[in-house]
């Protein structure tokens, strides 16, 4: 049993230490907002926060996260009230929506450390998260809106 803190709650996962955090979250803990896209760290659909840093959860072993603080999209805010979530709705960003948990978690890390990022800083920070529907221009607008409106 591996213990960690997920979205502010202590949880135990009955899985091997080498199990990717992604599958522990999705299938063992049924927090399915975090998505599987490539399993190899290329796409970023699986981004969550581990001890305050955005990580690709498919590349983090559960054992490495043991004892750590994990935040998933389900724990970003209690009621979708995070400025990014509100901005994502205002800009009507998602299309298929599959990558956007990862997009929002990646963006949340940026705004945490840089409340007023430039366009270049946004692009550089977000470049690791793929969106196959091509919502990139709206993602940039939404991050700028969240930075503006807080």
């Amino acid at each position: 049993m591996i213990k960690l803190n997920v979205n502010g709650k202590k949880v135990g996962v009955a899985a091997e230490r080498k199990t990717p955090l992604l599958w522990a979250l999705r299938e063992h803990l049924e927090l399915t907002g975090t998505k599987y896209g490539c399993g190899a760290g290329h796409c970023g659909a699986c981004v969550v926060h581990l001890n305050g840093r955005a990580v690709k959860s498919c590349r983090v072993a559960l054992g490495v996260a043991a004892g750590g603080e994990v935040t998933t999209i389900e724990g970003l805010s209690p009621d979708a009230s995070h400025p990014l979530q509100k901005a994502w709705i205002a800009e009507q960003v998602p299309q298929c929506g599959y990558c956007h948990s990862g997009q929002i978690m990646q963006a949340a890390e940026l705004l945490e450390s840089n409340p007023s990022p430039t366009r270049e800083e946004i692009v550089s920070h977000m470049n690791g998260v793929l969106c196959r529907c091509g919502t990139y221009t709206r993602i940039v607008s939404a991050i700028q809106r969240a930075a503006r409106e807080g």
Partner: protein, 721 residues
């Protein structure tokens, strides 16, 4: 507007029809009969029926939405058209996803009804059908109010969710009516003449928020990959690297000993491992060593074939004429000048972000299966699952889920059939997920092709003759978008397709063949314009006999892009027409070239689109933005190849799709103001990109690109040519 809890996807028809007080308007499948029937009729009829609209005394309206949602917004857009004619207050509307019953929820197509959402078909196919239904419900409400007030129904009007009798000032909400009225035995007849004029639209043309978006920002939107069932186990399939080769033997005993492994299931074209959790599936899948029989693609080398064999086939007489008009031979024989060029395009992968997956659960008796999947075609998927299991359709209970991308891949649900077969064998609920590597290795590709074009100019310099031959595998997948008469008048033309066959799985990709066909057509047009030393717009106007519709979109994009204004140093513009699913447009891109890395960068895109009535402008815009980025991805990055019969690329590191750093900084879209019926907009964005980028590259460098994608190697070769 609200939606139901994302986790409840299936409406219970019995509940919907027989449940709470209020009015339920159901649909009958009786051919040619009234489309909507009463609740009472619905319950007594022998016909299969289903609810479409329900109005409850609390003045709320539920509309069943028939359009599969893959990000294009149609699950919201189609009900908007119904709500328009119903004169519904959109804030009182709740949407529910329709079950997989095309006889009830399908649109009319070739004498039947289908729910297949391909070819940008949702809005344009359902538009009139659901408007008539909305008008019919409104008329029933008017009649009920008229009877209650003792007035003539023709003296009544509606405002959102309200019937108004202007003469007496009386008003009644739809909810008030639902509290006392019954749905009439026979629904009032309506015809297209009863529908609103565009000037009277309250909802069509006015953006509403998409119903699915709130659940897509907090992780609650349910895709099939998210389904959790008690006692569920996990599976993943290994398919032969050479497509469709059946399995011969594998290290069964060794894999069965691995932790958590429950079963190994042989499939026609694969071997599936089943385990207690997905990490154990992945480990077992990795340890599984399968020896395969021969597949048709054995030994296939896609690059060598495109270089050598396709060119040989181009000279072959085994030709299928797709279209011809006039006398092309005569036009070429008497031509003042002939232009010729060959164009190539590589294989493309859909690369939807959600790897293909499905969940299946059988009942204890094994005579009923429940399916959770995301499909573009719920009706045919349900039928193919039933067929694979030897079941009647009624034995398949189908739950439609959101799709994490589709782009044409998900109108065939071979993956769901696999999940069902595995669940039957394993006798447990199964979540079957193809790994990304499997999704790519066993993909169904947009076919590679060679295109040979020739244009004949007459003595007046007008395009009098046109020959376009496309060579490749996949038949119909090769020649959509090849008919230039949709935008350019050329009296004498021959359009041909010559086949090869490689045994590689192929499928409709976003806009099917339009991207590469328009790449070839519009590249040649640009080459002729340059040879005449004419501005590309001017050349088209003088030499190409544009249709009025084409002329309008070209004029519009010329102004929108401020085409004639100077651009910054190192930037250049390129132009292309775009056409798909009844829509027509023209687009301009502004590019630069990173000469150290030979990478083209697209900075800005402008598009003027004629899509008829635009039901939801922001959703339409989002679709076109998406298509533009999808198109850029396909010409700047994406490339699949086969060696020794197997797909070479394995994941997003070597099958690269466009990232944010290469996305355009600005996309401007203008819709032509039209009162014509809506046409498709989901795939109008990407066909304009290949030629526009290649033509901009010429404007910037004086060199032509003839092979998409425009990889650094090809850019480098073009610059040195």
């Amino acid at each position: 507007m609200q939606t139901n809890d994302a986790k409840t996807h299936q409406i219970s028809r019995r509940e919907f029809l027989g449940g709470a007080a209020g009015l339920t308007f159901a649909a009958s499948i009786a051919p040619g009969g009234a489309w909507l029937v009463s609740d009472a009729n619905a319950k007594s009829t022998e016909h299969e029926i289903g609810a479409w609209v329900r109005i409850t005394p609390d003045n709320r309206i539920t509309i069943i939405t028939p359009a599969a949602e893959m990000g294009q917004g149609s699950m919201t857009g189609v009900p908007v058209a119904l709500a328009e004619e119903l004169d519904a207050d959109w804030s009182t509307v709740t949407l529910e996803m329709a079950p997989a019953e095309p006889e009830i929820y399908g649109y009319d197509r070739r004498g039947g009804r289908v729910m297949r959402i391909t070819g940008s078909r949702a809005i344009r196919s359902y538009f009139t059908q659901v408007r008539l239904a909305g008008a019919q419900v409104r008329k029933a409400l008017l009649n009920a109010a008229a009877e209650d007030w003792g007035v003539d129904a023709t003296t009544l009007t509606t405002e959102p969710n309200t019937v108004v009798h202007a003469a007496s000032g009386r008003r009644m909400t739809y909810g008030d009516i639902a509290a006392f009225a019954n749905v009439p035995e026979t629904m009032p007849a309506v015809t297209e003449a009863d529908l609103k004029q565009p000037a009277d639209f309250r909802l069509i043309g006015t953006p509403v928020d998409r119903a699915d978006i709130p659940a897509k920002v907090d992780g609650s939107a349910m895709f099939s990959i998210d389904v959790q069932l008690p006692g569920m186990v996990y599976a993943s399939t290994a398919h032969a690297p050479v497509h469709l080769a059946p399995p011969l033997k594998w290290n069964d005993a060794a894999v069965r000993k691995l932790p958590g492994v429950i079963d190994i299931v042989q499939l026609e074209h694969g071997v599936a491992v089943v385990a207690d959790n997905f990490e154990n599936v992945l480990a077992a899948r990795k340890a599984l060593k399968v020896e395969w029989q021969k597949g048709a693609a054995e030994g296939y080398d896609s690059e060598a074939a495109l270089d050598e064999r396709y060119k040989a086939v181009a000279g072959d007489k085994d030709t299928r004429a797709v279209a011809q008009a006039g006398d092309a031979d005569a036009a070429f024989a008497s031509a003042a000048k002939v232009y010729k060029a060959d164009y190539r395009s590589d294989y493309g992968y859909h690369a939807q972000m959600e790897p293909l997956n499905a969940v299946a659960r059988f009942n204890g008796a094994g005579d009923r299966v429940e399916i959770w999947e995301g499909t573009q075609s719920p009706g045919s998927s349900r039928a193919s699952i039933a067929k694979a299991l030897g079941f009647d359709r009624s034995q398949v209970i189908h739950h439609q889920m959101y799709m994490g991308g589709a782009f044409g891949r998900r109108s065939i649900t071979d993956y769901t059939v696999e999940a069902a077969l595995i669940a039957r064998e394993t006798k447990k609920p199964v979540k079957m997920i193809w790994t990304r590597e499997e999704d790519l290795a066993f993909a169904m590709f947009r076919p590679q092709n060679l295109q040979c074009l020739e244009a004949a100019l007459d003595d007046d310099g007008r395009i009098a003759g046109w020959r376009h031959c496309v060579i490749g595998d996949g038949d119909r997948l090769l020649y959509s978008g090849i008919n230039i008469e949709d935008y350019y008048g050329v009296a004498n033309r021959v359009i041909e397709q010559r086949g090869v066959s490689h045994g590689i799985r192929l499928k409709h990709w976003r806009a099917v063949a339009h991207p590469f066909n328009l790449f070839a057509i519009e590249s040649l047009v640009d080459e002729m314009a340059a040879d005449h030393d004419l501005d590309p717009f001017e050349f088209r106007r003088r030499h190409m006999a544009m249709t009025p519709k084409a002329k309008a979109v070209f004029d519009a994009v010329e102004a929108l892009s401020d085409w004639h204004a100077p651009r910054p140093e190192g930037r250049a513009l390129g132009l292309s027409v775009t056409e798909r699913s009844g829509s027509l447009g023209a687009g301009v891109v502004e590019i630069s070239l990173d000469r150290d890395r030979n990478r083209i960068r697209v900075h800005k895109v402008w598009a003027a689109i004629d899509g008829g009535i635009v039901v939801q402008p922001d959703m339409a815009r989002a679709n076109i933005e998406s298509g533009i980025v999808y198109g850029m991805s396909s010409v700047l990055r994406e490339r699949a190849t086969m060696k020794a019969g197997a797909v070479v690329q394995s994941n997003f590191h070597d099958y690269q799709v466009l990232r944010m750093a290469e996305a355009p900084e600005e996309i401007q879209i203008e819709f032509m103001e039209r009162n014509t019926p809506p046409t498709g907009l989901g795939e109008i964005g990407n066909p304009l990109i290949p030629a526009a980028v290649a033509n901009a590259f010429y404007a910037l460098t004086g060199k032509r690109l003839y092979h998409m994608p425009f990889t650094p190697e090809r850019v480098s070769a073009a610059l040195e040519a």
